[in-house]
């Protein structure tokens, strides 16, 4: 039980790490919200399940936290995305099959328009 809990805990931490890495690497705000919400939410679920396996007596409080995070984290990210979209931040787009310098040039252009 202890070992399984710790393994799930570690998996959750890895997903939180990946989410933060995505937050660092993605090109624009909308993609960052996607990665930040999704990966970090699964990481939180993993950590909560792991702690529940290590301390089975705490399950009720952990269950409340889990339900609350599952309900509210998508709502809050959706709300801020809606606000950004209405305030006129253009999403970053990339046409398919463009290579080399052309792609880079377009990237620069998009960055200027989005900021």
């Amino acid at each position: 039980m202890q070992l399984a809990g710790e393994i799930i805990l570690l998996i959750g931490a890895i997903f939180i790490f990946l989410g933060a890495l995505g937050l660092l690497r993605m090109p624009d705000v909308y993609n960052r919200i996607q990665v930040g919400t999704k990966a970090v939410t699964l990481g939180v679920i993993g950590v909560i399940v792991g702690v529940a396996l290590i301390h089975p007596l705490w399950w009720s409080k952990l269950f409340v936290i889990l339900g609350f995070i599952l309900l509210t984290s998508p709502v809050s990210s959706s709300a801020i995305t809606k606000a950004f979209y209405r305030s006129g931040i253009k999403p970053w787009t990339k046409a398919r099959k463009m290579k080399g310098k052309k792609k880079k040039a377009q990237k620069e252009e998009n960055k200027e328009t989005s900021s």
Partner: protein, 175 residues
Amino acid sequence: MYLYFGKQMKKRSSPYALTFVINFLLWLLLTATFAIDELISGVIISIIVSLITAPKMKILNGLNIHFGFLFGLLKYLAYFFYALIKANFDLAKRVLSLDMKIHPGMVEIKTTMQSDLGKLFLANSITLTPGTLTVDVYDNRMLVHWIDVPEHLDIEATTKAIVSKFEDYLKEFVK
């Protein structure tokens, strides 16, 4: 929570009983005892809180409580967790690859959910599943940011790709 509801404030009765049940369940989970004092104070506090908040909780009227309610909810949750884990492995692959294979864009989808609660559940499900993020909700349209838009898609195909499976599961317990 009331982000997702627009004009649909129809005149319905306030869900006092349902709010009370939810409040009392929350009380039980937070105190985690069955001592008689705790139960009595829990009942009193739940009654007071539900009297105050039930007129604002009309969104709960969207729940379709019938015989297979719990079963439908469990089936939906199982599918939801499966989709969530799949989404995250997909996302991890994208984050770790050197040139991120993303073609982001905005698409519009249609929904057949009737109630506001159904739209809320659907929007949350879309946000937490593979590469999609709900941006805005109109009457029966949703604006979705998709991280990897395929070429040449019309609204029917997009709807089919993103939401129709969730709607099938959701319709078993919300209107």
